[in-house]
């Protein structure tokens, strides 16, 4: 039996813009994934708690407020602290190019910026799952 990939689409931080997150959620749904969407303004702790309970394969975070350098690594570290080591962590949103190397170093495995075709995100997930 083919197991559907489970993805947590999360909106950390204080911005209220989830159009992008919803479009990604829809694209993942249409590619056969189970998407858990937890809504706006999630703390890193809430995101990690949901990721653990939902036993997801992927945590996909979207942020448009500019707080990515603070919040993305925090989620990565909290997941590590929980002993979760088989989850693919990706991020997206309005993220300046020069911030991407730092985010990748911190453990975010891919960063998708505006204009990315949704198919690229779907393909990336299919090709980089950890379990």
């Amino acid at each position: 039996m083919v197991r559907p990939i489970r993805v947590l689409v999360a909106k950390p931080g204080l911005d209220g813009h989830d159009r992008g997150a919803k479009i990604i959620a829809r694209a993942l749904r249409d590619s056969g994934m189970e998407v858990i969407y937890t809504g706006l303004r999630q703390t890193p702790e809430q995101i990690v708690a949901a990721a653990v309970q939902e036993d997801v394969d992927v945590v996909a975070m979207s942020i448009l407020s500019g707080a990515h350098n603070h919040l993305f690594p925090k989620v990565v570290n909290l997941l590590k602290a929980e002993g979760v080591d088989d989850v693919l962590i990706i991020g997206g949103g309005v993220i300046p190019k020069e911030d991407i190397p730092f985010l990748m170093e911190s453990g975010v495995e891919a960063v998708f910026t505006p204009g990315t075709p949704t198919k690229d995100v779907v393909d990336y997930i299919y090709n980089n799952l950890k379990r």
């Binding site: 039996m1 197991r3 559907p4 489970r6 959620a25 829809r26 993942l28 749904r29 249409d30 590619s31 056969g32 994934m33 189970e34 998407v35 858990i36 969407y37 937890t38 809504g39 999630q42 702790e45 809430q46 708690a49 949901a50 653990v52 309970q53 939902e54 036993d55 929980e82 002993g83 979760v84």
Partner: protein
């Protein structure tokens, strides 16, 4: 991580992984349930059902908070529909339960229906048992938004809460068979918006026509968003629990449910065995034969089954 030990110790990761494995029909996970089944029976299962957008998730959130005030450990299984086309799903019930995420004594799991009709998913039963072993005192199962006939929740929940909203239809809707018959407790949510008295009256009038019984489902007006009537709703749910326990009905109805469950598990396993033993090409040829009217569908059925297990009917193989 040892799943079995983790689950017994109340480890959230072990609990989450066990549910995933059962959803995927994993043999090892099934063996763990076989070994730990004697540890179940502590949890009381409350099914929450009702039309889409009636406030099932928000009400679950509020009821859970009430139970947490009493120090109870609560599990929530929230089911949303899987796409029949892509197999994907948007599971969005957690949005209404954000405050619950960090409570160590609450476990929330979203599930897709994965092709299973009736408002639930095939693995819901397994997830209930996992949460029971994990140590939940109460387990809420929130069904997908239902219409008129998705009543599978009665096959698994001890108490069924039907969440209605005002102004959805006239008194004929309350008279119809199906979901209106399965409720142990009715909640009329969004009752702050008006029209709730009329809906309540329609449901009560319909309940008047029920056969005499020692238990009559109460109809409670609530507003989940305004936190009105939640206390009273929980009291009524717990009164139903107490009624079932006092009269011995709880055990009786659980035995009926287990009978249905056994039949259902046998059905699933037999289907799997038969399809595993059926060559895909045979099925393709048989389908074409039926289209061409070379054989009829009933004969095709007998041949597929006869090919997989011994029934006395000759199996079918195009290779022969």
């Amino acid at each position: 991580m040892n799943l079995e030990e983790g689950l017994l110790k109340g480890d959230k990761k072990a609990c989450a992984r066990m549910i995933s494995l059962l959803e995927n029909d994993d043999k090892e996970a099934i063996n763990i349930i076989k070994r730990l089944y004697k540890n179940t029976g502590n949890a009381y299962v409350i099914g929450i059902t009702g039309p889409p957008g009636s406030g099932k998730s928000t009400l679950t959130d509020k009821l859970t908070k009430e139970l947490r005030n009493e120090g109870k450990r609560v599990g929530i299984i929230a089911i949303d529909p899987t796409s029949p086309f892509s197999g994907g799903a948007i599971l969005g019930d957690r949005i209404r339960m954000q405050d619950l995420a960090l409570d160590k004594d609450i476990f929330i799991r979203s599930m897709g229906t994965r092709g299973f009709l009736g408002g639930m998913s095939q693995a819901t039963w397994g997830a209930v048992k996992v949460l029971d072993i994990y140590g939940c005192d109460y387990i809420f199962i929130e069904t997908v938004g239902v219409g008129q006939s998705e009543i599978d929740i009665v096959k698994i929940a001890d108490t069924v809460l039907m969440v209605m909203v005002p102004n959805l239809g006239d008194d004929i809707q309350a008279l119809k068979a199906g979901i209106m018959e399965i409720a142990d407790v009715f909640a009329i949510n969004k009752s702050d918006l008006g029209g709730a008295d009329k809906t309540q009256l329609e449901i009560e009038m319909n309940l008047d026509l029920n056969e005499k019984s020692n238990y009559r489902p109460p109809v409670i007006k609530v507003s989940a968003v305004k936190k009105q009537g939640i206390n009273m709703l929980l009291e009524n749910i717990l009164e139903h629990k107490e009624y079932l326990e006092r009269t011995g009905e709880l055990n009786k109805s659980r035995t009926v449910k287990n009978r249905n469950l056994i039949i259902k598990l046998v059905e699933e396993e037999l289907m799997k065995i038969i399809l595993d033993r059926t060559i895909k090409e045979d099925l393709d040829y048989l389908s074409k034969d039926v289209t061409d009217r070379a054989i009829d569908p009933y004969t095709a059925r007998d041949r597929v089954i006869g090919g997989a297990i011994s029934t006395g009917v000759k199996g079918y193989s195009f290779k022969k």
